[in-house]
């Protein structure tokens, strides 16, 4: 008799518009190789009225999976709940979760750079804890920085954190290495892309520094809040979120320059990985850049012009930087993720 395949359940609200859905789409492709996967969709108050993220819809269709909406009970050897933040606008997680191991992937940092809470972490985790009957409950950070915020929260909220252990390895986003090659003649063509939220953008003064009139091209994708009102900058090419295809956007730029509001720090920085995979030199604020080591050039807004100038005058330097980025992305490959994922399944299989 063939060994029983591990039962793996995902618990998500599939309507997240950004990185969470993309990350889940990528990792489902790994998960299905390790067990029988069921994807449970929870209708959260937070994302009410939104549609399922297209990237996830496509991935599910490719794998022949379907969403099971609002099941009263969810079971499995391993249950993976992505981004507990989707529970922040409600008081109760409806389904009962019965599993050997429950992993809660903490896509959102538990605190802001100011030290203030990022969201009602205790409230969200309390809902999950109250709804679940499991041997193990793990919080799985997605990056070293994300881990710091989780550990700091746990230390400061011992009672709320008591049911939870923190996974020893990062539950990182799978990043495709990409096949694009570096342009041999880089020009001062800059761009950034993100969701439209104000938290994704630096103050206007910094945006002016990083996308100046002197640049040959400044492309901002996800610029909804800059288009609806606010400053008029004729030298900015503004597109709303999903306004153009991502490939079209990358064709317009040679440098990706990414800074967020100083009150936010990306938990992983998936957009940076996309820039690297597209064969661009990626420049970001030093904190966000850390996740990707020397694959991303750390620079504050005032330093960006100099960084770009140096890479334009020396195309070799540009190509070397693109190569470093690609090397770094290999650390976030599907294979490495699969190894990490298998280690999570091992205890469950042993118990079976």
């Amino acid at each position: 008799m063939a060994p029983k395949r591990p039962q793996i359940s995902y618990v998500i609200d599939p309507r997240f518009p950004g990185g969470t859905s993309s990350a889940v789409a990528d990792e489902l492709a790994v998960a299905v190789q390790h067990g029988a996967v069921t994807v449970h969709a929870v209708s959260s108050a937070m994302l009410k009225g939104r549609a399922v993220a297209p990237v996830l819809e496509r991935a599910l269709a490719d794998m022949g999976l379907r969403l099971v909406w609002d099941a009263p009970a969810i079971g499995g050897d391993l249950v993976v709940l992505h981004n507990p933040g989707f529970l922040k606008f409600q008081a109760r997680l409806a389904p009962r979760i019965v599993a050997h191991r429950l992993v809660v992937v903490t896509h959102e940092n538990f605190s802001l750079p100011s030290g203030r809470p990022g969201f009602d972490v205790a409230g969200c985790l309390r809902q999950i804890d109250a709804a679940s009957y499991t041997a193990e409950k793990l919080l799985a950070p997605v990056s070293p920085y994300n881990r710091q915020t989780v550990l700091a929260w746990a230390a400061a909220h011992t009672a709320a954190a008591r049911p939870w252990a923190v996974a020893p390895e990062d539950w990182f986003n799978i990043c495709a290495t990409g096949a694009a090659t570096a342009t041999p003649r880089p020009r001062d063509r800059r761009g950034r892309h993100s969701r439209a939220g104000l938290e994704k953008f630096p103050p206007l003064a910094d945006l002016d520094l990083t996308f100046p009139a002197s640049a040959e091209m400044n492309v901002i994708l996800g610029a909804d809040t800059l288009m609806s009102a606010g400053p008029q900058r004729p030298h900015w090419a503004l597109f709303p979120f999903h306004g153009i295809e991502i490939e079209q956007y990358f064709e317009m730029i040679d440098f990706m320059v990414y800074h967020t509001a100083p009150t936010l720090r990306e938990s992983f920085g998936r957009v940076l990985a996309e820039g690297i995979a597209a064969g661009k030199v990626v420049v970001a604020d030093p904190d966000t850049a850390q996740v990707f080591g020397d694959g991303v050039i750390p620079a504050r807004p005032a330093e960006v012009a100099d960084v770009i100038a140096r890479h334009i005058e020396a195309p070799t330097r540009y190509a070397e930087q693109v190569a470093r980025g690609r090397t770094m992305l290999a650390r976030f490959s599907a294979d490495r993720f699969a190894q990490m994922f298998a280690r999570h399944l091992a205890p469950a299989e042993a118990a079976a």
């Binding site: 203030r116 990022g118 969201f119 409230g123 104000l198 630096p202 009102a229 606010g230 009150t263």
Partner: protein
């Protein structure tokens, strides 16, 4: 400068912002609202409410930002805040009622991301829940001047339109309005006010809740009773809070004790209107002092004190503002009407004020030369120009100017027929004493009920009488109405012979007969035909000088000067010329008419008969019916020529003079009007 933003951009949020701005301003803060965050189309009352606080974005220099209604912050507000590109040291405070921990954290994070700083969060539900649950407006006790202290306290009753469904409501309110112990003020919705004004109970003193800002509405109220079901709206809640803060009594007569349930120091009163008069008169009135003392000592007031919340929000202290001290004065505001009559009359009264009480004017530009010539300081108001889409654009500006001109202790004296919104609001908003000088003789229907509704702003109405008693009619009644004799310019010391001699020198012509034409400035109607007729009639009389008196700035056809014997004289001193004349041909406006009659000068009156003017024809006919003047209608040009001939050639002039000499006239009222104004300030 404190910039006030709201989480949402709807009408309710704007109203809450305006009320909060008014509260902050009352505490000395320079509170402003970015005009780009305000909808273009605003209700009329809102335009007036907003005017003192709107600022162009380019002029914003924020010392702090306060976001109210922060439990729901939309992208519009966040984008605006981002676009301010605030200096790093400018704090942001978010005031809201956060239903969950997440809501509070979410507001904090969103504001932080948009502005790159951590906002101070003030949870009103915890810190200052207010007198009505769920209001956007932070209901803070802005402690101000004590209640009116009037001998007869004022009871205000706030109620919704549903109360009118009971047929006993208006009769009951009317009965209460006649209680000697209390003055009544009704506060309700605009719809309910209109409904009441359409009934036979229209005389009830009703205010729409949006007619005035709550703080202004609270002035003069000593006791407020709130009726209805459930918590009151933002404005009534704000009114109740304002009253509590200044030691007034608030009676919770709601069905479900909605106010008392909040812990505010209110009195639980009867839930029916019928029980209210007895409760107010026998329970509240005798204990007013103790009620005020207990409320002042109540922890609720301290908890809701604006300075406390300002401190929680991290607002900087309001700037020190010194205001140059001066003695209280009477600020006269004559309307421009169709001529200078209102300004003339106001200047007469101002000139008769007792020594020690100074007068100043705010007046339309057309009146300024006259007032300056009389020696009064006069600040300009703005006339309507037609250049703005809103027909009240000039009046909004005037409201701002009037508010700046009034200081504590001043009295506003308005002379005019229609009480502009600027006048009405200024009186309430500044708390100034107020007098309305309102001459009579309106055409039927000319004074609408809505015009008289604004009489409630005034402490007294002085009605200058007409010389002929049948012309005196009453528009409204009450102890605040004071009828005085005709108010007119007192005759000067100029001897008629000296005036004629000086005139002869000035026009370079000798004459034995002087005819003076004063047909007005041509505002109501073109008088060229009449002036041509008069000039033609007098052209063949070499012994006659015909002087056409024109106010400075008045436009007259240049061709008039071509007539033999006719001279155009531009002067503000028309009365000495008229007194020196053998015949005056004049419009029958109040001032000129009475000046001619009291000077006993033979006159032909050509009444102005525009529908928006006083009933000049009746006034002229009253004189001609007594044989003391002739009346010719504007289109009766042949009759006009004949009347001139009759006076100058056929003895009619002597007849008029004889009748005028025998005429008994009432005493003039200038002195009494001045005395009443002075008494009101005492």
């Amino acid at each position: 400068m404190i910039v006030i933003e709201a989480g949402r951009r709807d009408a309710r949020s704007l109203d809450a912002r305006l009320l909060f701005a008014a509260d902050l301003a009352a505490h000395g803060y320079d509170a402003v609202i970015d005009e780009e965050t305000v909808p273009d189309a605003l209700a009329r009352a809102t335009r007036y409410d907003a005017a003192p606080y709107l600022a162009a974005r380019a002029d914003l220099a924020p010392a702090a930002i306060v976001v109210i209604g922060a439990e729901e912050i939309g992208d519009d507000a966040l984008i605006t805040l981002r676009d301010y590109a605030l200096e790093p040291d400018v704090p942001i405070a978010a005031l809201g009622r956060f239903p969950t921990h997440q809501a509070r954290m979410g507001a904090e994070a969103r504001l932080a991301h948009a502005t790159a700083r951590t906002p101070a969060i003030v949870d009103l539900e915890a810190e200052a829940p207010g007198i009505a649950p769920g209001t956007l407006l932070p209901l803070l006790a802005a402690v101000r001047a004590a209640p009116s202290g009037a001998t007869t306290p004022t009871l205000a009753i706030a109620f919704g339109a549903d109360l009118l469904e009971d047929p006993q409501t208006l009769p009951l309110l009317t009965a209460m309005n006649n209680l000697g112990a209390l003055r009544l003020r009704l506060i309700t919705t605009g719809k309910a006010k209109d409904e009441i004004k359409g009934t036979r109970y229209a005389a009830l003193p009703v205010f729409s809740i949006t007619e005035l800002p709550p703080m202004a509405l609270a002035r003069g109220i000593d006791i407020l009773a709130v009726l209805g079901s459930g918590p009151p709206g933002e404005r009534v809640a704000s009114l109740a809070t304002a009253l509590l803060a200044r030691g007034g009594a608030v009676i919770d007569s709601t069905d479900d004790a909605a106010l008392a349930a909040t812990g505010a120091p209110v009195l639980r009163g009867p839930a029916t209107l019928a029980g209210l008069p007895g409760f107010a008169e026998h329970t509240v009135l005798p204990n007013r002092t103790e009620i005020a003392r207990a409320a002042a000592a109540d922890a609720w007031i301290a908890r809701h004190a604006l300075p406390r919340i300002a401190a929680l929000a991290g607002l900087p202290a309001p700037p020190e503002r010194g205001q140059r001290a001066r003695a209280p004065r009477a600020l006269f505001v004559p309307t421009n009407g169709n001529g200078l009559g209102h300004a003339q009359r106001a200047a007469q009264i101002a000139g008769a004020l007792p020594a020690g009480l100074s007068a100043a004017f705010c007046a339309f530009p057309s009146c300024l030369p006259l007032l300056n010539a009389r020696g009064f300081p006069a600040a300009p108001l703005v006339s309507p120009t037609g250049a703005h889409e809103a027909d009240d654009a000039n009046d909004i500006l005037n409201a701002l100017r009037l508010a700046r001109a009034i200081r504590p202790g001043d009295q506003l004296v308005f002379d005019g027929g229609y009480v502009f919104t600027s006048i009405f609001r200024t009186i309430f908003e500044t708390g100034a004493k107020a007098t309305w000088v309102r001459r009579g003789l309106w055409r039927p229907g000319q004074i609408a009920e809505s015009h008289l509704d604004r009489e409630k702003a005034f402490d007294q109405v002085i009605v200058p009488g007409e010389a002929f008693d049948e012309l005196n009619t009453d528009l409204s009644f009450g102890p605040h109405i004071h009828k005085v004799g005709p108010i007119l310019q007192a005759a000067g010391d100029e001897a008629p012979d000296e005036t004629r001699k000086a005139l002869a020198g000035a026009i370079g012509a000798e004459f034995t007969t002087l005819v003076v034409s004063m047909l007005g400035g041509g505002v109501a109607a073109d008088r060229t035909a009449q002036l041509q007729t008069i000039s033609a009639a007098l052209a063949h009389r070499p012994e006659t000088a015909h002087v056409i008196v024109a106010w400075p700035g008045a436009a007259l056809p240049p061709a008039l000067a071509q007539w033999p014997n006719t001279h155009v004289v531009t002067t503000l001193a028309a009365l000495p010329l008229a007194r020196a004349a053998d015949l005056v041909i004049s419009a029958a406006g109040y001032n000129t008419f009475h000046e001619l009659i009291y000077a006993r000068t033979p006159a032909i009156f050509i009444p102005q008969i525009a529908p928006y003017m006083d009933d000049q024809e009746r006034r002229a006919r009253a004189a001609s019916d007594r044989g003391v003047a002739l009346t010719v209608l504007p289109d009766e040009l042949i009759a006009l020529s004949r009347a001139i001939e009759a006076v100058l050639d056929h003895g009619e002039g002597a007849g008029l003079s004889a009748a005028l000499a025998d005429l008994t006239l009432p005493a003039t009222g200038t002195g009494e009007a001045a005395r009443r104004i002075a008494e009101l300030m005492a």
